[in-house]
Amino acid sequence: MKYLVFAAGVISATAAHAELPELTVYTYDSFVSDWGPGPVIEAEFEKTCGCDLKLVAAGDGASLLARVRLEGARSDADVVLGLDTNLTAAATETGLFAPHAVQADFDLPIDWSDEIFVPYDWGYFAFVHEADVTAPVNFRELAESEMRIVIQDPRSSTPGLGLLMWVKAAYGAQAGDIWAGLSDNIVTVTKGWSEAYGLFLEGEADMVLSYTTSPAYHLIAEEDASKAAALFDEGHYLQIEVAGKLAATDQPDLADAFLEFMVGEAFQSAIPTTNWMYPAVTPASGLPDGFETLVQPDRALLVPAAEAPSVRDEALAEWLGALSQ
């Protein structure tokens, strides 16, 4: 264990040099990666805040909440960024989060009036397929088709849970039947988004559960127009990603400043081509070229945050029941 002590010594020695106040933001892993929004957002915020912004990765959104609950009131985090509306009720219930004071004109498909959490981006779940394939137009047609899909497990993946809520929001009590109908279309269920998307690109499935914005990545970053998202007439389930300030933060002013920054131009204009989601406040420059080609759902579906936990448990039981036959 000697090296542990040694490493701890080295770290605390370097920490002692930092004189700027430090704002710690917990977020999901893909946010901090070199290809996510993290690097540019850190640079932009540090230009003005007179602080050191420390982004800490903790798995995905659900792991993030588990991490904060694990640390409780003694958490090092000042801000948590990356929860979604499926998690905000549980997060609020912990009592660990404090109300925000952000006033912004959100460009969301729904009205936003949460006292604690501030949205920073959003997107619609959708099945992505090769553009030259004729996709079904709703879940019933999908179930009757020969289309093979790969989805994520709702117990280990945010999109997987999103699909669960989507079917539930669209079909309510009939959701179990829909899943029973879909079961022979499902090639397999993966642990996370990356595995599922990888399988789709390898040709293992005709469609993969992802976002309506996924084709934008291929179009803009790879100049490849071969991917498309299937437009479903039941409407598409929304994912709204939010951030919140922790009540026990030792940097409340910096945390507030960060939340303000988050809905501002610099942050929001980085979102479309790093997180590949829609910005919560459309930047003055508008969306990047290519986003206008994306499908626009007619209806946005969303289970209200307060009902999400109970709906979630019921939907999971139906899903397991239908697919474990």
Binding site: Y3, L4, K54, G59, R148, V189, S194, L199, S324
Partner: protein, 518 residues
Amino acid sequence: MAGRAQPVTPAPGVGAAVLVAALILGTLVAVALRAEGGRGLGPADWAAVRFTLLQAALSALFSVALAVPVARALARRRFAGRRVLIVLLGAPFILPVIVAVLGLLAVFGRSGWISDALGLVGVPPVQIYGLHGVVLAHVFFNLPLATRLILQGWQEIPAERFRLAAQLGAGPRAIRRLLEYPMLAQTVPGVMAVVFAICLTSFAVALTLGGGPRATTIELAIYQAFRFDFDLGRAALLGCIQIALTGAAALAALSVARGDGLGDGLDRPLQRWDALSRIALGLDTLVIALAVLFLLLPLAAIIVAGVPGLPLLPVSVLVAAGNSVVVAGLSTLLLLLLAVPMALAVAVGWSQGVELAGLLGLAVSPLVIGTGLFVIIRPLADPTALALPVTALVNALMALPFALRILVPSARQVVDRHGPLAVSLDMAGMPFLRRIAVPRMRAQIGFAAGLTAALSMGDLGVIALFADAERATLPLQVYRLMGAYRMEAAAGAALLLLILSVALFWILDRGGRWHAET
């Protein structure tokens, strides 16, 4: 063995075993203590336990059943490239799960090479998803390990026995009855237990190839308890079930087979008079060819997919590769500090307790140990700052069971053969360790170090729980690239990982044998 005078004291090894057990069980307790209520185990959890047992038992059965003919063929044939082949066969074992799965599917998937080839002659594609897919993937991961363990058993049959059998005119069937079956009866239970234990903690492989929530394993139930329900009590309880199952399998195996191992001597010349017939040669050639195809085709797929991605690798991936090499080095060092004293303690008579403590590393859920360490470290230091050393520690614990399987037989041999002389020369303790034990166990130490370094390179481990942007390892960067749609670059990074892992293994394993004499 002598009654009391021993060339080494078991104290450091027993201390290391206690430390390992305390660390692993301590993380479990730490998680359990943080629990706030919870609902205990439900029917779904028990279904997960049943499925886990089923798939692990089948995987162990098939891995070993297929490993026996492969090991037999490798044991009685010498051919150019055999040594390289044995190293390469170990590669599936050290690959990150996601990479290996994509490689497997490139060959066996619905649009994989085999399905494509079948399509040319009008046969429908292979149906890979289901219980058989889970078993296939686990055989892919574990066949090489099982083969090496059983191969060792074959080579521990003294050459004189084969000579005697040949002199008596024993044919292949008599050889099997006289020599091979008794050896297999000794070796096979231990190998099955190890493979069984590895498969107990499988999650992503089982789910992906199992085709859906029917293939829910205990590890997935732990994952669900932790991140979906935040029910730490249930997570700890499921962790205990994993440990209990591994412990039961290990005890059963230890009671049947003592001192089997991966050990030394892959190149010991062994004259076999029973293998000269043309049928035997043809059969062995076929078996080796099939094993090579099965294990190397997915690797070939990974290489083919990765080459175009290599030039796309950003600097951060290279930095992560550097981090991974450092973690692997640290992990290897830690492992040797634990495993060598533990192997010697086993050799001087502390077998059951020390070996059991060593096996715990296989049994423990990475999520539970990571979370537990996080809870333990947090009051003392910033866990993120310690991400790399903690990853190295956990990787060392996970490699410990394999290292002990490798080191224990040779430690026993060194203590039995050289112990009394060393004791009479008053060189017990450090002089024995430095002058006799380590030089004599050099080849095994090299092999164990190589395996640990390679496992550590490839394992995502607990880094994902602790990491920030600067402290990523190579497997984590592979996942991050995939998570950012950059599948081609991810394939390149995976290839880099494969190359580095195999290279590290090769260097350490060869290093152990470089000057090996007698």
